[in-house]
């Protein structure tokens, strides 16, 4: 045993080792840290040797898990020490303590660069190593050219060049732009001719990273990789020191094969032939030997060769050879090989026509599901999941179910999710599917997510044939002494809906069903009780003629829960109680749930999402993503796979407006997107409450077009809707629903904008905010910010656009075009063609309102940044309310006017439903923000609201407008609105305008939250710019 060579350090380590407990250790460490801190702080300054000692101690303390942040600076400062020993310590400790995001590292960039470009080889090595290990983006930008030079320099020794290769690899990972593809591809190919195997290994790693991003540029490297493989495979010209247990550098072989997997094909027949010869030799010539390391090394190469063969989709013969090998591997004793056999077999599934040969190994794979090693069990589960199809689904799912009760907790959730997905995907018949899910809930209730039982309810609801079967099954499970709560939920739900179908069976009379369910009530949580209450109500409804005894019991239960603290339970109890007294009328209200609209399974979606989220672009994943689309198609074609009735019955007629759905969307504040809300809602409110029963189900995914629409309305930026979506939406919009047309417009505009540059912030929200205020940001993207400032006087307005260039290079071909609606006269001053770097340009705009209209002016704005043309269309906040002038009127004036405007078309009245529930105060402030003065006290009814305002346009005189809103305190979602003015168009437009504000819930009706900063003061730079001056003068 050698001591560290630094006495103090050795003593300290011994002390720590002698500490009997963690407490003592902490004391000793604290003491040492105190000592180090004082030393670092002392005025005298430490010699580099002393510093070195303390810095090592710090690293040791850091390894023990203590915080040594205070010493980071000292470690970094050692990098600039002149002598090798201290410098070495500085570099190594810095790269161990810090990560690329530490600010201190920035301080060292210059020193590091000097070491890299300096003549001292040992310093170069130290610097390259540290940058290679923890260099971040900034290092990338400032050091990449120097590192590249070292890598290709003919005067550098291999020890520097191999480090430079890996250092460059890191810099490239941090910022791919630092490697200029044009010049580098040829150099890279030359590097692969390298004779020194150390440099060659490092360079091949670099190549793998480069081709993973862009194989196109590096075609010339492909034959070189094959050549390297040939050289290694034939063991030609390989120095003894580069063979590992007799195998010529297994690592280099693996790397070269990895690089080849990023090229889609190999076209040159000669190269292809040579490569296949090598691969064949590896596949055939790898034997199991006694020496573990030799075995591992040769199998590392073998598995990589398998991956490459799969990628190249070689001849059938070679493929079946691979499957045979894997089949052998999954049965061997050596656990590593078994693990890798299973893993690679899963990957093999992506190759199209090997499924059948893999299926032959099913029994062996199922055995692996019981392996003592969890890593292997996981692989087996994955493989079974992957290889499952219609032909073997029954066997595999039943195996999974059986295994479920024995499986460790860490795997149960995954296991049950996978079983549920497979059962749904490949069910040979639906009753089997119901069996599986119920078994799943029975065996692993805690691990069955809600999605799973929602899904089974959807299936049963949509398939009449299945209903009696499912109900009978649910009834059976209820007889078990202890069942999981999820089972209570699903069986209560099913029996509530369908138990009447069983009525003639023994033990299935309404009363018996009720009592068997009610037995479970004391054991369940508050989330389940509402479901039970609904079930009772439904049982009661189905009991015809009414059974007074049952009625009495159920009513007593409802009565009991009428004062429940949980509001959901209480509400249901109260309502069911009231409803159930209505006798026959109950039939309609508590009728069976309608069928669910066809939707993608939340489970399948979950599984897909989990599969596609990958940041790393490895060859296998890239391929997996290409295969993904195929996999989806296969799923969609289920009928062809042998389960026609499943699918046939699933694709149902859509029920256009399901109460549940409406409810869901209202809850989410999205009624804007849901056209049905502005029209009269034909269903009584109480039905909505029952719709709640299915609330969670409905939220999963409201039907077709509406979903798309809603999603976009919430986050206009998250996805670019395809034009097909619009096609689907347009017919809805044609129902004279202007709200939707507006939305449509917005989405089209946004779509255009997004094609080029992603805007910052939500354009919609910005627009709505500006409808209420007179200054703010209208649009912002990475290059430009457009601010707006407006002044309104009667029917005229003056708007100033502030165009601010955020970049350090000019924006050119700037163009602004106004597309005014007929009612607005707009004059835009000249917009300069170029906006200088970091400058702000002002463009005034004169507006005149000709007559009342709700149409909106659009600003078409475009500029060029680099080669990118950006083109956006923005709505200008010159909206109707800007031409209003608040006015308060006395009671006499008001009533005089009100009476004189006797009826249509000057006075219009409408009942509006689907209004966003607002309290009167909220509504008052909303009105005030639109410049409608609310006159309190004019209306004797406190639930009503009266407002007045003056409207200005060129065609009408200043016109008094009067508004009366009658709200219904019992139902805030509806109100009656009366609008009156001296001009029929104005009356109509104003009425529609207010309606839009109440119904569409513009985002700005919330306080315009993080208010975008008002247009910034003119940048001085703008003043020196002639274009800006000109704009200013105009």
């Amino acid at each position: 045993m050698a001591l560290s060579g630094m006495r103090g350090l050795s003593v300290f380590i011994s002390d720590i080792r002698n500490c009997p407990n963690k407490e003592q250790e902490r004391l000793r460490v604290d003491k040492e840290l105190g000592n180090i801190r004082t030393r670092f702080k002392s005025e005298k300054g430490l010699t580099h040797y002393e510093k070195k000692k303390y810095v090592w101690k710090m690293l040791y303390i850091h390894m023990l898990g203590y915080d040594v942040d205070f010493g980071h600076m000292e470690a970094v400062s050692l990098i600039s020490a002149p002598k090798y020993p201290e410098k070495q310590v500085g570099y190594i400790v810095t790269s161990s303590l810090l990560n690329e995001n530490h600010d201190f590292l920035r301080l060292a960039i210059n020193t590091v660069r000097n070491d890299i470009i300096g003549r001292n080889e040992t310093f170069q090595c130290l610097a390259l190593t540290m940058v290679g290990n923890i260099g971040g983006r900034e290092f990338s930008e400032s050091l990449a050219p120097d590192v590249q030079k070292l890598l290709i320099s003919s005067s550098c020794r291999p020890l520097v060049r191999k480090k430079a290769a890996l250092c460059l690899l890191r810099l490239y990972r941090k910022n791919p732009d630092v490697v200029n593809i044009d010049g580098w591809a040829d150099r890279m190919a030359q590097l692969l001719d390298e004779r020194d195997l150390g440099v060659l290994t490092s360079s091949t790693s670099l190549l793998v990273a480069l081709v993973s991003n862009n194989h196109e540029a590096y075609w010339s490297c492909l034959p070189k990789c094959v050549k390297i493989l040939e050289r290694l495979a034939r063991n030609q010209d390989i120095p003894q020191e580069y063979t590992y247990y007799g195998i010529p550098s297994p690592w280099l072989q693996v790397k070269a094969m990895r690089a080849l997997q990023y090229f889609p094909t190999i076209e040159d027949p000669n190269i292809r032939r040579s490569l296949f010869e090598v691969l064949q030799r590896i596949l055939m010539g790898t034997d199991v030997v006694k020496n573990v390391n030799k075995n591992n090394a040769s199998h590392a190469v073998l598995f990589e060769a398998l991956a490459l063969v799969m990628h190249l989709d070689a001849e059938k013969e070679m493929m079946s050879q691979c499957v045979a090998l894997l089949g052998k591997f999954i049965a061997v004793r050596e656990p590593n090989i078994r693990y890798l056999g299973l893993e690679n077999m899963s990957r093999m599934l992506m190759v199209t026509d090997v499924h059948d040969s893999i299926k032959r190994h099913q029994a062996q794979i199922i055995t692996s599901l019981k392996d003592p090693d969890i890593s292997i069990r996981r692989r087996a589960l994955d493989l079974l999941y992957g290889m499952c199809d219609v032909s073997n689904a029954k066997d595999i799912v039943e195996e999974l179910l059986q295994y479920l009760s024995a499986a460790d907790f860490a795997m149960r959730e995954e296991l049950s999710l996978k079983a549920a997905i497979l059962a749904e995907k490949f069910a040979p018949d639906l009753s089997w599917y119901v069996d599986v899910i119920l078994q799943l809930i029975d065996k692993a209730g805690d691990f069955v997510s809600d999605d799973i039982w929602f899904r089974v309810v959807q299936f049963v609801t949509n398939n009449e044939d299945l209903q009696p079967y499912a109900a009978a099954k649910a009834r059976e499970y209820l007889d078990k002494p202890a069942i999981h709560e999820t089972m209570v939920k699903v069986s209560a739900y099913l029996l509530g809906e369908y138990s009447h179908l069983l009525a003639r069976r023994p033990g299935c009379s309404p009363k018996e069903i009720f009592s068997v369910i009610h037995e479970k009530l004391p054991t369940v949580s508050t989330t389940t009780i509402p479901i039970l209450l609904s079930t009772y109500a439904k049982i009661l409804m189905h009991t015809q003629p009414a059974d007074p005894e049952l009625q009495k019991i159920v009513w007593a239960i409802f009565n009991k829960y009428e004062s429940c603290i949980d509001v959901e339970i209480q509400q249901r109890a109260v309502e069911y109680f009231a409803l159930s007294k209505k006798g026959a009328a109950l039939m309609d209200i508590l009728a069976e749930m309608p069928k669910f609209p066809e939707r993608q399974s939340a489970l399948l979606k979950k599984a897909e999402d989990a599969e596609v989220d990958s940041a790393e672009q490895s060859a296998i994943k890239l391929r997996a993503q290409q295969q993904m689309s195929n996999a989806l198609v296969v799923t969609d074609q289920r009928p062809a796979n042998g389960a026609p009735q499943t699918v046939g019955e699933l694709s149902l007629v859509k029920i256009p407006s399901m109460s549940g759905d409406q409810h869901a969307s209202t809850d989410q504040g999205l009624s804007q997107a849901n056209g049905t809300l502005t029209t009269v809602d034909p269903q009584p409110a109480s039905v909505d409450l029952l719709g709640d029963l299915l609330g969670p189900l409905a939220i999963e995914g409201p039907p077709g077009a509406a979903v798309q629409f809603e999603l976009n309305a919430v986050s206009g930026l998250e996805g670019v809707p395809s034009s097909a979506d619009y096609a689907a939406i347009v017919p809805v919009g044609e129902q004279t629903n202007t709200v939707q047309l507006m939305n449509l417009l917005e989405h089209v505009l946004m779509y255009n904008a997004m094609l080029f540059k992603q805007p910052i912030g939500n354009i919609n929200e910005r627009f709505y905010a500006l409808c209420l205020k007179d200054s703010g940001v209208l649009y912002e993207d990475p290059n430009i910010q457009i601010g707006i400032k407006a002044e309104w006087r009667a029917h005229q307005g003056r708007l100033v656009l502030f165009l601010g260039n955020k970049n350090t290079s000019p924006l050119v071909s700037v163009q602004a075009l106004i597309l005014p609606p007929v009612h607005l006269k707009i004059e835009l001053s000249l917009v300069p063609e170029t906006i200088p770097p970091r400058a702000q340009v002002q463009c005034p705009l004169e507006l005149m309102n000709l007559h009342p209209s709700r149409d909106v002016a659009v600003l078409e704005f475009s500029y060029k940044f680099g080669t990118n043309m950006v083109n956006v269309k923005l709505r200008l906040p010159a909206v109707l309310n800007k031409f209003l002038q608040p006015i308060s009127v006395s009671a006499e004036e008001f009533f005089l006017q009100w009476r004189s405007l006797s009826g249509p078309p000057l006075k219009l009245q409408e009942v509006v439903r689907g209004v966003k529930p607002l309290s009167l105060t909220e509504m008052t402030s909303l009105f005030n923000s639109f410049r409608l003065t609310v006159c309190p006290g004019l209306d004797p009814n406190p639930n009503n609201l009266v407002a007045s305002t003056t409207f200005y346009s060129e065609s009408t005189r200043p016109m008094l407008c009067l508004i009366r809103i009658e709200t219904d305190p019992a139902d805030l979602t509806q109100l009656r609105m009366t609008v009156a003015s001296g001009d029929p168009t104005l009356t109509f437009e104003l009425k529609e305008f207010i309606k839009e504000q109440l119904v569409s819930i513009p985002t700005a009706s919330r306080p315009p939250a993080p208010a975008p900063p008002a247009a910034q003061p003119t940048n001085p730079a703008a003043l020196t710019d002639p274009g800006a001056l000109l704009a200013g003068l105009l």
């Binding site: 490092s202 690592w251 003592p372």
Partner: protein, 161 residues
């Protein structure tokens, strides 16, 4: 790519850590805690791979020490397993039949050696001979500097007497 390298003793003491991906101090401690829990409890006849948070940990036990390297899911596991062995062989050659105590008192040397084998989470040198030569060269550089320093300080000390 190797995300990080950990050497943990059977008692859960950390003997070396090297992070090639940016983990904060907090995350580092958490990772070490989690992985010690997973790896130290695994039985002897299981495979050398553990799936962990979407990554894979390849580990191997040598006497009382667990050598762990965390890699991406699609990396070649056996290749990395042999990188571990390569590292161990070099340590063995350098210390002359290495034991845990060597790595405790000379933890800094283990860092030098690792830096000659891995950079950026990739294998840098597969020749044991080359690595040994480079480490020896570094050691002699340090030694020479030390001698120089002591001789100069001697001179100064004598001069100021």
């Amino acid at each position: 790519m190797i995300q990080f390298v950990l050497l943990i003793s059977r008692q859960g003491k950390v003997r070396l850590t090297k992070w090639y991906s940016p983990y904060t101090q907090k995350e580092r401690s958490k990772v070490i805690r989690e992985l010690s829990g997973v790896i130290l409890t695994r039985g002897p006849k299981l495979c050398n791979f553990v799936e962990w948070r979407g990554l894979k940990v390849v580990y191997k036990r040598y006497a009382s020490l667990y050598f762990c390297m965390c890699i991406d899911q699609d990396d070649n596991e056996l290749e990395v397993l042999e990188i571990i062995h390569h590292f161990v062989e070099i340590l063995d050659r350098y210390f002359g039949s290495v034991c845990e105590l060597d790595l405790i008192f000379n933890f800094h040397k283990a860092y030098y050696v690792l830096d000659e084998i891995l950079i950026a989470g990739e294998l840098q040198e597969s020749s044991k001979k080359t690595v040994a030569r480079l480490i020896a060269a570094q050691d002699s550089l340090v030694e020479t500097a030390k001698e120089q320093a002591s001789s100069i300080s001697n001179i100064i000390a004598q001069a100021t007497k």
